[in-house]
Amino acid sequence: MKFVRPIAAILLACLATPALAAPSPLTVPSKLEPAWQAKTRALFKQLIEIPTVHHRGEVQKMAALIADQLKAAGWSDADIQIKPYEALPGDKTAALIARWRADKPTKKPILILGHMDVVEAKRSDWTFDPFVFREEGGYFLGRGSSDMKNGIVATTMALIKLRQSGFKPDRDIILFFTGDEETQGKGAQLGATEWRSLTDAELGLNADGGCAGYDRSGRPLGCAISMAEKTFQTYFFTTHNPGGHSSRPRPDNAIYELADALKALQAHRFQPMMNEVSRAYFEARAKQEGNNSLGNAIRAWLANPNDGAAADAVEANELEVGHTRTRCVATMLEGGHADNALPQTAKATVNCRIFPGVDTKAVQAELQQLAGPKVQVTMDPAFLGQSSPASPLRPDVVNAVTKAITAIHGPKMEIIPILSTGASDGSFFRAAGMPVYDIDGSWGISPDDERAHGLDERIPVRAMYDDVVHWEIVLKELAGK
């Protein structure tokens, strides 16, 4: 997800659970029948091995493969559409829209969201080929294994399984898989507007982002569902210099000036902020943490939203990064044009996750202030972020998810709202008036398995299989009554 909320962000520990040594989540058998495990694995392998990185032109192939699976399982040609579109300039990608028609619909449809594209992964950075599917040590590995070909496979297999079992939905269920969530989000924008007649639904369920995970001792962390999300905006820091021959260094240097601005960025802290969703989240978190230092910091901040020190202490906790304010971080660098020439230009990409309601231009001004006059701060024109409203906490969604996670993971867990630190394709639908809930059911181990966009991305084998069961239960609940 361009923006995901990693599993662990949440850590809603079931403190009622006695501190018994829990069995490793990796070795607990999946509740998915072995025959369906084999089918799931086969599809997962095929999809991981299609490198759906931007500009490689592979997304259409993946969409066609999923379409073929659905057709073989009974979807009619007329109910499946592959929509080609261009995302980044020259990036030819596609979206898949597939509708399972209810015989006698009694409610507006459900839209299931996901994306088929993945973030770039370089063979040289990884310990193995990111586009060769592997199973090792209880894990499936490969680019997209957790973000989010797992969700694509789980929702697709769950629908096929339900259809083959004779399940009759009482509302249409629409699969909507985009092809540029990691770069542009153009597919989601089109889906929320131009293609709305094909995607219109009462609510969206986003498979791009799960609600929970396990901690390292094997305890379930509970479930938080994203109801609101931060605004995504990328900025560029650029420095210019006349350059010259590198044997005669000038006192001023574009790379050094950029480095100074990056150090200032690293030291900068944005103003802490709280809204309704994050307040509800932190109230639940404070209860869970109890009387420890994090719990006390959260309570101090809740009691006094102007207590900046308390907010800083909360933000500093690995589990709460990004929940208390706007965050900006340097993600890319480029500079210079030849090894033996002084750089004429140096540029840093600074990625920001902006607290809902804060204007992207205000953040730009703040960045310019800290970077100083030698650095030019501009907004990435390729993607201009926009704020989206929070979705209401629907009891039917909460009940369905509760039923699924209880069936798979044991005792009943509290479900709380959360502010996602990023935005996903869901933001475009939220902005267009459709509530969206991120409820994928792949439970990894936090924080070890949080490798989306990073190195050696992986997902527990069991999590992949149980995710099929999870979606099966959720959809039965929401489309079968």
Binding site: F3, V4, R5, P6, A9, V119, E120, A121, K122, D125, E182, K230, T234, H245, S246, S247, R248, P249, N253, I255, Y256, L258, A259, D260, L262, K263, L265, Q266, V321, G322, R327, V329, A330, T331, M332, L333, E334, G335, G336, H337, A338, D339, N340, A341, L342, P343, A346, A348, T349, N351, R353, D380, T421, G422, E450, R451, A452, H453, G454, L455
Partner: protein, 476 residues
């Protein structure tokens, strides 16, 4: 060569009363002009496969002048690297044998036939069509360095025609990839050494030369005796990365920024060698103000780092007092929404002669002082060495300069750039940049740049200059 604005130094010059300056007879002048025009019009840029044509053309001139076939060798070779592209190029080796059995080893005369790219749209006139205008020859390679190729070649042809018999062998080496990969010079300093007769020392036309100020006053001639070592390094920071919505406390880019900051603040230890001492001794005589004071203080006390720093800080002296390293390129990250897993900076160093590039790698590691920042070398360059100031070469060069330019002071020079000379110096063969071409400073400093040009008179002076040098060094 990677030519830089050459500093002008003064080494106690007395304006010697000179006889009338010699010049070329008309026939030799015409031959020089025609050869220059032919080679300028041959675009010997990497990738255009034209160096072999030029090598054969120059070889034909030597053959026509009576050099035996067995002593004229066109040596095709391949040059390539990841960043420069590749080319089928060639070197030319010509041996002028001394009669009898000279016990002295040959003197080598060097140059390179290739030129830096010049685009038609970036130039006022076609850079590969020589034009003459306002007292200048225009075209790519007019100063870097087809003037030197022509100067050496015509001087030898003229001397031979005049019946001159060298008392030791003279061997010519013209390479075909100095501006890119320097494979020709590497081969010359190793596998072609037998063909070259293991020269005692070399005179490089791609170094030295003189300047005249725009007001016509002399700005000095320099003899290049040393050059810094060019070496590249990479700083690499790796990180687990992750999702950019959840910034980690450690970040490859921020770590790299701190490392660059430390390199910016660092000053390498000032150093002096024979060449730069003579250079600064000449310079300080011309500098009456604070810069001259700093030079004098430093020369008096080589441990006076503040004086060395003050000297280095002058725009005219950058790079001459020590090793300098500067970041030239940055690369980091793989997506705008992912924390960087890899951040790298290219550090380009110009190392004081005699200092090992490996030692600079270790020093960079100490400067950065962070085990998360890995410092590696990008190449296998050897330490460049300064050539000793040989009295015979200094005397011959000074005589040639003063014969043609009685008012010009002469200084030794350490180049901050790099040329074909380095592998020979490393192999123990001293090399002296002794070209006799001259330009007007700074308006003619156009090597590698737009509308490269050479004063017309400089082309012909240079032929005479090389004739004097060869008579002085091989005729006695």
């Amino acid at each position: 060569m990677h030519r830089l604005a050459v500093l002008v130094l003064a080494m106690g010059t007395s304006a010697l009363a000179a006889p009338a300056t010699p010049s070329l007879p008309p026939a030799q002048r015409t031959a020089t002009h025609d050869m220059f025009e032919h080679v300028i019009n041959t675009p010997t840029v990497i990738g255009r496969h034209k160096v072999p044509d030029m090598a054969q053309y120059v070889a034909d001139q030597f053959l026509a002048a009576g050099f035996p076939k067995d002593d004229v060798h066109v040596l095709p070779y391949h040059t390539s690297s990841a960043t420069t592209g590749d080319d089928d190029t060639a070197a030319l080796i010509v041996r002028w044998r001394a009669p009898g059995n000279s016990k002295l080893k040959p003197i080598m005369l060097m140059g390179h036939m290739d030129v830096v790219e010049a685009k038609r749209e970036d130039s006022t006139t076609d850079p590969f069509m020589m034009t003459e205008q306002d007292g200048y020859y225009y075209g790519r390679g007019t100063t870097d360095m087809k003037d030197g190729i022509v100067g050496i070649t015509q001087a030898i042809i003229n001397l031979k025609a005049a019946g001159f018999k060298p008392k030791r062998d003279i061997v010519v080496l013209f390479t075909g990839d100095e501006e890119t990969n320097g494979i020709g010079a590497k081969n010359g300093s190793s596998q072609w050494l037998d063909l070259l007769g293991h020269p005692e020392f070399g005179l490089n036309a791609d170094g030295g030369g003189g300047n005249v100020n725009t007001d016509g006053s002399p700005a000095g001639f320099t003899m290049q005796t040393a050059e810094k070592t060019y070496a590249g390094y990479t700083l690499t920071v790796r990180n687990r990365g992750g999702h950019s919505s959840k910034p980690r406390k450690d970040n490859a880019i921020f770590t790299l920024a701190h490392a660059l900051d430390r390199i910016e603040a660092y000053r390498f230890t000032p150093m002096l060698n024979e060449t730069t001492r003579a250079y600064f001794d000449g310079r300080q005589k011309l500098e009456k103000g604070p810069l001259g004071d700093a030079m004098r203080d430093w020369l008096a006390n080589p441990n006076d780092a503040a004086a060395a720093d003050a000297t280095e800080a002058s725009e005219s002296e950058v790079g001459i007092t020590r090793t300098r390293c500067v970041p030239t390129r940055l690369f980091a990250g793989h997506a705008d929404n992912a924390l960087p897993q890899l951040a790298t900076a290219m550090i380009n160093c110009r190392i004081f002669p005699g200092v090992e590039p490996d030692a600079i790698r270790a020093e960079l590691e100490r400067i950065v002082a962070n085990p998360e920042v890995v410092v590696t070398r990008n190449d296998d360059q050897k330490a460049s060495l300064a050539s000793p100031l040989r009295p015979d070469v200094v005397a011959a060069y000074t005589k040639a300069v003063h014969t043609l330019h009685p008012n010009q002071p002469v200084f030794p020079e350490m180049s901050t750039g790099a040329s074909d000379a380095r592998p020979f110096r490393v192999a123990g063969i001293p090399i002296y940049g002794t070209n006799g071409g001259w330009t007007v400073t700074p308006i003619d400093n156009r090597a590698h740049g737009k509308d490269e040009r050479l004063p017309v008179q400089s082309l012909y002076d240079n032929v005479v200059h090389w004739q004097i040098l060869l008579r002085e060094l091989t005729g006695k």
